[in-house]
Amino acid sequence: MADPLLQVSGIVKRFTGVVALDRVSLDLAPGEVHALVGENGAGKSTLIKVITGVYSPDEGEVRLGGRRVEFGTPLDAQRSGIQAVHQEIGLVPSMSVARNLLLGREPRRRFGLIDFGRMHSEAALTLKSYGIDVDVREPLRSLGLGAQQMIALARAVSVDARVVVMDEPTSSLEPREVDTLFGVIGRLREQGISVIYVSHRLDELYRICDGVTVLRDGRVVHQGSLAELDRLRLVSLMLGRDMSEVRAEGVTRFSGAHDADGAPVLVAGGLTRRHVLDDVSVAIRPGEVVGLGGLLGAGRTETAKAIAGALQLDGGHVTVAGVNLRRGSAAAAIKAGVALLPEDRKSEGIIPTLSVRENIALAALPRLSRGGVVSDARIDRIVDTFMKRLRIKAAGPHQRVAELSGGNQQKVLIARWLATEPRILLLDEPTRGIDVGAKAEVQALIDELASEGLGVLLISSDLEELVEGSDRVVVLKDGTVVGELAGGDLTEEGIMSTIAQVEDG
């Protein structure tokens, strides 16, 4: 192997008391695609932040091309040729797509003035090559999370870099975009650019990664070539459990069909919002898991939000158990038993300043209090139950939720909604960023909830999950329903071809 391009050695990083990284070392050869795997909270993002200059390590050193480097800021790292796509995207939502893409390297005219005409056309062109066709002048926040992820990616690889670090770049991407991404990684590899790749989707790792580092509780538990490590062993290393135990569990934890019977508990009809949704109708029976399929920007997130009363609509109605919901009121929907797990947990989900405990109790407060006074005992009970049931990894219920790893934050949000004892669960990418172990748990949970009689709407960019988990999948495209698949027709290919058909016709 050639001399390592990037050498990380003996990194220790502590946060008030918690040791997030404990003497972590890692070598990266030029052109190598290196997988960094581990459970939620294992320390992957922290390591990446150390490498990219966001954190400075308490101990240890980073060498780039043999020279020791110390980055004070991400800017220093970028100047040395280390680019990153961070887990929480790390773009500015209020700025336009083009500005986000080209911030800091805008095309300029004389006197250093930015040439907006060229900037917009360049941005549009770049994004087109990644299959993103959007108005680059619109603010970034108007896009779905998947599209934002692609933009962050395009931003990171469109400059000269020596190392590109990707922290869960595919967590919101469809198969089509994943393919685009892998094409990009292939090109980087050919140019001798190294990639550190973090993902909880194991099959992706096997498709593109050469080496692997497995982290557990901040320590390296395995390092070597990925090809030599079979999938089962990888999982057992990550989770720190026996091979046999892992083997017993399948790929996904869905049991298959549920027996949903009786009248639909939720009927949404004619949901319409200009430019976004056009006459979308969905019905869910108790005990049924209905999937929503579609490409980026198909309007799945909007559909879920519309049902939950979180989106202003131009038309349409939502009834729960025969009762019409007041339009545009999230409170009314929640009261009727509709719970929405939002896609963007950072801006729409967690309350970063509050503790795990308070985040979990938030939506269920009316049930957990009497006469406006909260009952700590009841909250403790519920929080305890869900922290155990979902295996939330935190220093304790009083730790600030912002300090949890991404996956654990997601579990906290799921707990928040389960605590309200909903009748209908709208899950927008529920397993996004969750590790294999936890993912299986969440999937099992969805199954279990459905069999307890909950109606579930499942949105997932993981097609396998969608197909395995749903009883029926409604396929959306450009804000309209273009098909519905169930039973034998419900396959990954089926969904893709339904979408493609419309495209042709």
Binding site: P74, Q78, H86, G90, M95, S96, G104, I114
Partner: protein, 333 residues
């Protein structure tokens, strides 16, 4: 919505005139209210739309505007600068004090001291990471204290002699508008270019839109924030010096409460206090709105001072409600 601030945002495909109209309103809500108010004023009071009167509004507003220009940058980064009123007064006193070494020194001294003041505040905010509100509140006290100690607890008022270069600049006028008005316009033009058309400006927006994200994207956050506070200090000092030149003296009792007027002007101009959005053209409109409101209250004439306050608070409420409403129509789309 920063993207719409710069480039003339094209209406989305298929959008009707209605949406284009609201788009325009969102960017120029304060301007629209201003135009309305000027129209009403002109119809109601014959002595309002005269050249003299409008020239007065312009020169009076020009100092507030200069200070507000710096504040606009600060607020877009998500910060705030409460020290501007004191620094404004300090700038004036320093200018008059510096007159003993000539007009040139009289201009340089306030710029140097007030710039340094901004630098210290900026470093405390960006490097030591103290809350801008508190740092600049301390700055408000500190600058006032400095002013008092220079002026012998406010007992000494230094003068800027008639006919000195500085005084002539502060008091002269062409075409019915004072020189400071032209300088302010030039500063705003430069400010607009800096904010909208340079990388520095992009960084300012990015920091306000999300400081952590901006940091991750490689924005020099610390440097940009420090610079923004330096700018604010410089502009407040400059405005103070020019005002002193106009008044021919370093009046010590100026600037108390000015910070709130400045913040109000900036926010009415459509800049979000949470950062990430705003424009300098809006700020001009905001400043002029305040000036016109004040002028109209005087035009009404026989109001007691208490009623004047009530009316001006009421005006303010109506203006922000209308302005907020206009912007929201767009945001909801």
């Amino acid at each position: 919505m920063t993207s719409t601030v710069t480039a003339p945002a094209e209406a989305p495909p298929g959008a009707g005139g209605r949406e284009r109209f609201f788009g325009l309103m969102q960017r120029h809500g304060a301007t629209a209210v201003l135009v309305l108010l000027v129209a009403v004023g002109s119809v109601s009071f014959s002595s309002f739309p005269t050249g003299d009167n409008l020239g007065n509004i312009a020169i009076t507003s020009s100092f507030l505007a200069t200070v507000a220009l710096g504040m606009t940058f600060v607020i877009i980064t998500g910060g705030i600068d409460l020290s501007v009123g004191s620094v404004f007064a300090l700038g004036g006193v320093l200018a008059a004090y510096g007159m003993r070494w000539g007009s040139f020194a009289a201009l340089l001294l306030p710029l140097a001291v007030c710039g340094a003041f901004g630098l210290v505040q900026g470093l405390l905010i960006a490097r030591v990471r103290l809350a801008p509100f508190i740092v600049t509140l301390a700055g408000l006290l500190g600058a006032r204290g400095l002013l008092l100690s220079i002026s012998n607890e406010g007992a000494t008022t230094y003068l800027i002699p008639h006919g000195s270069l500085l005084a002539r600049f502060g008091q002269g006028s062409v075409l019915g508008l004072g020189y400071p008005v032209y300088l302010t316009l030039a500063l705003f033009a430069a400010g607009a270019v800096l904010l909208q058309r340079t990388r520095f400006g992009q960084c300012v927006y990015a920091i306000g839109g999300g400081e952590d994200a901006a940091q991750l994207m490689g924005v020099p956050v610390t440097r940009t924030k420090v610079l923004v506070y330096v700018m604010s200090g410089l502009l407040a000092g400059l405005a103070g010096a020019l005002n002193a030149a106009r008044l021919s003296s370093g009046v010590t009792i100026l600037g108390t409460g000015m910070e709130l007027d400045v913040i109000a002007a900036v926010v009415i101009g459509g800049t979000l206090l949470t950062g990430g959005a705003g424009s300098v053209s809006g700020t001009i409109a905001g400043v002029l709105l305040l000036g016109v409101i004040q002028n109209l209250i005087n035009q009404i004439g026989d109001l007691s001072s208490s009623y004047q306050q009530v009316v001006s608070g009421g005006f303010l409420a109506v203006v922000v409600v209308v302005q907020t409403y206009l912007s929201r129509v767009q945001r909801l789309r």
